[in-house]
């Protein structure tokens, strides 16, 4: 548990991706089985338990700590579990700290009523970092800034394998992943997962650049709308079906309404959408359904899920990935006509007669509340990863408005000495009719390194107030902000939220008073909800 706790502690403070990978690799290389396998499970949200620990913590505090001192400590620390971990009495004599594998093995079978007693004994055997990590482990959510995919990347790169190779077998193997580590260390063959519904790494698209457009021959490409949902893979076997996100996370549990219809044998690529009365609902509808542990009947009825298929990797046992898109599409259509799974359809192909007609389709996308177009080379096989020259995404043109810089925050990692995160506002009027800025969004990209230096200098020279890492600045700098869309939001004072905002230009020339007004944002709200 000690090494695992130290790993989590370090990860929680480490902003850089490469540094995180290095820390995890060192851990996996130096930690014995089966502990490292359970650690991998914890980092990929693969442990089969999560305990609501709040009441247990309260009870332990009452029994083991002085209440007034705990209250004062809690006020200072701001987090109950962390306070408990820090203030817990140190063991009087030498102790044997529990191993991670022992803790996991017991927790898997643990009765909720027995938790408090075991937890108390474990806490007595751990140091402060260990106690903190244990409480995190119990809740089932580590929150140390590591995605499941990053953890898989760490183990894959340990053995100079690609993450795709790990992802392909991931859903056919289980904690503590002994076979996986044996394979990675060259001691065994790759685990055989044939027959299990596992994730196949996806083929991804490149943004369409000017040069791609110039070189494009329309007859070589299949054209589809770019649907505004999330990319999913359906892997359905004879007895079992799974729904995977684009990163290979199993999201089946959040979509019981879809899973019921997946009684076939195929691995299909498609877009997960909310479709109501034949109409695709805006993306924020889908967000209501993602990452939910509990689903109500009401939610299923209000946000009906739907899959729009556009490719097939396997159909009834036949691997189609080496076939051309044209062939795969024909197989998909032929199969769909027979199987007709519930809550699904096929993404229609568009047939613009010329590049001019294609351009016109693209321009119409925004008016139809569609995100853009997908252009896929007809002769391409299905290649995992992001191969060049095969698939292009052509997003609708961004919208831009001029905003006024209000706050700047220091970045992290390489940017920790730069004010690199910008909150900007639009003009509105306060109750007495005087002009007032309200924050409308935040962006930390879109500028060059040279512009970052200038922005940083401007922020330092125009600071009016400081709040920790944040500075408020005088309303004097106009930023042209590019964004994809505007949505209603009850979480922000302005009542709106921007999608994918980034700084497109710094308007050194423009007086702040001439920046856009909040009304301009409100007019852009996609109101089809």
């Amino acid at each position: 548990m000690k090494l695992f706790a130290e790993l989590l502690d370090r990860l929680a403070y480490t902003p850089g991706r490469n540094a995180k990978l290095r820390l995890m690799q060192r851990y996996f290389q130096t930690t014995p089985d089966p502990d490292r396998g359970y650690a991998l499970a914890a980092l990929t949200d693969g442990l089969p338990f999560s305990f609501p620990v709040r009441r247990t913590i309260t009870s332990l505090v009452t029994r083991r700590l002085e209440p007034e001192l705990f209250r004062l400590s809690r006020d200072y620390v701001g987090d109950t579990a962390e306070t408990l971990a820090l203030a817990w009495p140190e063991p009087a004599g030498p102790v044997v700290p529990p191993r991670l594998c022992e803790i996991v093995a017991e927790l898997e079978l643990m009765d909720r009523n027995a938790l408090e007693m075991r937890l108390e004994a474990w806490l007595d055997g751990l140091d402060a970092t260990g106690r903190w990590a244990l409480l995190k482990l119990l809740t089932g959510a580590l929150r140390v800034g590591v995605s499941a995919r990053l953890a898989k990347t760490a183990v894959a790169e340990m053995a100079s394998k690609s993450v795709a190779e790990v992802e392909e077998i991931w859903h056919g193997i289980a904690p503590p992943y002994l076979q996986l580590f044996r394979w990675l260390e060259g001691l065994a063959e790759r685990p055989d997962v044939s027959g299990a519904p596992v994730f196949r790494p996806l083929m991804l698209a490149h943004p369409l650049e000017d040069a791609d457009w110039e070189a494009l021959h329309i007859e070589d490409f299949a054209v589809e709308w770019k649907w505004d949902g999330i990319r999913v893979q359906v892997a359905a076997g004879r007895h079992d079906a799974r729904l995977f996100s684009r990163a290979g996370d199993d999201i089946s549990r959040s979509f019981p309404d879809l899973m019921a219809g997946l009684n076939f044998r195929a691995v299909l690529d498609g877009e997960l959408l909310i479709v109501r009365g034949g109409e695709v609902a805006p993306f924020n509808n889908l967000q209501q359904r993602l990452n939910r542990k509990t689903l109500t009947a009401r939610m299923l009825a209000d946000y009906p899920a739907h899959i729009r298929f556009y490719d097939a990797l396997e159909i009834e046992g036949a691997d189609l990935r080496a076939f051309t898109l044209t062939e795969r599409r024909a197989r998909l259509e032929e199969w769909y006509a027979r199987a007709r799974p519930l809550h699904s359809d096929i993404s229609e192909l568009l047939f613009p007669a010329s590049k001019a007609a294609l351009m016109q389709l693209w321009q119409e996308a925004r008016g139809m509340s569609i995100e853009g177009l997908m252009l896929k080379r007809r002769s391409s096989p299905y290649i995992a990863g992001r191969p060049k020259g095969h698939w292009f995404k052509w997003k609708r043109a961004a919208l831009t408005l001029d905003c006024v810089l209000m706050y700047a925050q220091r970045g992290s990692g390489k940017r920790s000495s730069y004010y690199s995160d910008y909150t900007f506002g639009a003009w509105t009027a306060d109750i007495e009719g005087r002009p007032e800025l309200v924050p409308v969004g935040k962006a930390y990209s879109g500028y060059t390194d040279a512009e970052l230096l200038e922005l940083d200098r401007w922020v330092r020279n125009h600071t009016t107030e400081r709040f920790g890492p944040v500075r408020a600045v005088a309303p004097g700098l106009v930023l042209e902000v590019a964004f994809d869309a505007v949505q209603r939001s009850t979480r922000h004072k302005s009542g709106i939220a921007m999608r994918f905002p980034r700084i497109s230009r710094i308007r050194w020339d423009k007086p702040a008073a001439e920046a856009d007004r909040l009304e301009a944002f409100i007019q852009l709200i996609d109101d089809k909800i």
């Binding site: 370090r10 929680a12 403070y13 480490t14 902003p15 540094a19 290095r22 820390l23 060192r26 700590l65 002085e66 007034e68 001192l69 705990f70 004062l72 400590s73 200072y76 620390v77 701001g78 987090d79 962390e82 306070t83 820090l86 203030a87 140190e90 402060a128 220091r410 992290s412 990692g413 390489k414 920790s416 000495s417 920790g468 890492p469």
Partner: protein
């Protein structure tokens, strides 16, 4: 409990703790005629006093940092040496906080008060260790006066640092340290751990390091970042905490930012400073040491000068002693 109340000869005032029986202040925050100074940190050693009594090391620090303001008539008193001022016998005893730091022991009319200043109990290669002085009244700080504050053994934190240096040889490890005391202690701890490469310094740390060396504390090879000819990848750099966020740090190679401070125990504080490697190394007592020290002095009455006095006074009550929060102004929460 003694018959004479301590207030009749020692009391908190808005200038600091005042000893009526000897007509002098201890760590006064405003200029006074006669001051006894526990140690050289700027919230304790202020400029503009006339006579200043302190250890020779503290006087040297004051001269370095305050120049003319370091006292018109300085007077050195060695640890253990007794001096009569008015009706009071004054003795200085090591406080273990930084080089020259002292507890002020006051004997008056059969009562003994110990004003400890800032102190710690963990061993420190750069200063004399804290001595327990049995007393009737113990005046203590409470910088880390909450049970959540327990400083890890410093060797453990140094080993975490060196492990990180080994794990990221292509990056610079830059550690924010208070320039007086913490800086030199960290260097000495690294030397104890066998680290013998040059340690790179921000310019603001040089003069105090020079002073420590002059006073006999060996620090090994030191070099200035501003004079580095090569990339500092793989090296350890020390700087004042404020420089971590400053444009100064941009010259370092993909730095791992660290901060050596007792506050690093609490995640919220560590995140507030935005550091990647929080090191819990403090020059103050932690909670268990505070309680143990109070016990060991045997004092029936405890005055708490500054810090988180509410929790400590509550704890003192639980221990069956009289606790009193002085809420002295001007004693700051440093980045320690």
């Amino acid at each position: 409990m003694t018959a004479v109340r301590f207030d009749t000869w020692l009391r908190p005032t808005d200038k600091g703790l005042y000893c009526l029986a000897g007509d002098f202040y201890i760590d006064p925050v405003r200029p006074v005629a006669r001051a006894v100074v526990t140690h050289g940190h700027s919230d304790h050693a202020r400029p503009g006093h006339h006579a200043v009594l302190a250890t020779a090391e503290t006087l040297a620090v004051m001269r370095l940092r305050l120049g003319e303001g370091g006292g018109v008539v300085p007077q050195a008193l060695a640890y253990g040496e007794q001096l009569r001022i008015g009706d009071v016998d004054v003795t200085l005893r090591p406080a273990g906080h930084i080089l020259g730091s002292a507890q002020v022991v006051l004997d008056y009319a059969g009562q003994r008060a110990v004003v400890s200043g800032d102190y710690k109990r963990q061993p420190d290669p750069t200063c004399a260790p804290f001595e327990i002085v049995p007393c009737d009244l113990f005046v203590t700080e409470a910088t880390f006066g909450l049970p959540v504050f327990r400083h890890e053994p410093d060797v453990r934190e140094i080993s975490r640092l060196l492990t990180s240096v080994a794990a990221f040889p292509e990056r610079t490890h830059v550690i924010g340290v208070y320039s007086l005391g913490k800086c030199q202690r960290l260097i000495a701890l690294l030397r104890q751990a066998g680290y013998d490469k040059p340690i790179w310094l921000h310019g603001a740390l040089q003069s105090t390091c020079d002073l420590y060396e002059q006073l006999g504390i060996a620090l090994g090879p030191l070099a200035l970042v501003s004079e580095a000819q090569q990339s500092l990848a793989g090296e350890i750099v020390l700087c004042p905490p404020s420089a971590l966020k400053d444009r100064w740090s941009r010259r370092l190679t993909d730095p791992v930012t660290a901060l050596a401070s007792g506050w690093m125990r609490v995640r919220g504080r560590a995140r507030q400073y935005g550091v990647e490697l929080p090191l819990v190394i403090s020059d103050h007592v932690d909670w268990p040491e505070l309680i143990a020290t109070i016990e060991e002095t045997g004092a029936g009455e405890i005055w708490v000068t500054h810090g988180r006095e509410e929790a400590l006074v509550h704890q003192i009550g639980l221990m069956g002693r009289r606790g009193r929060a002085l809420a002295l102004v001007g004693l700051e929460e440093e980045t320690d």
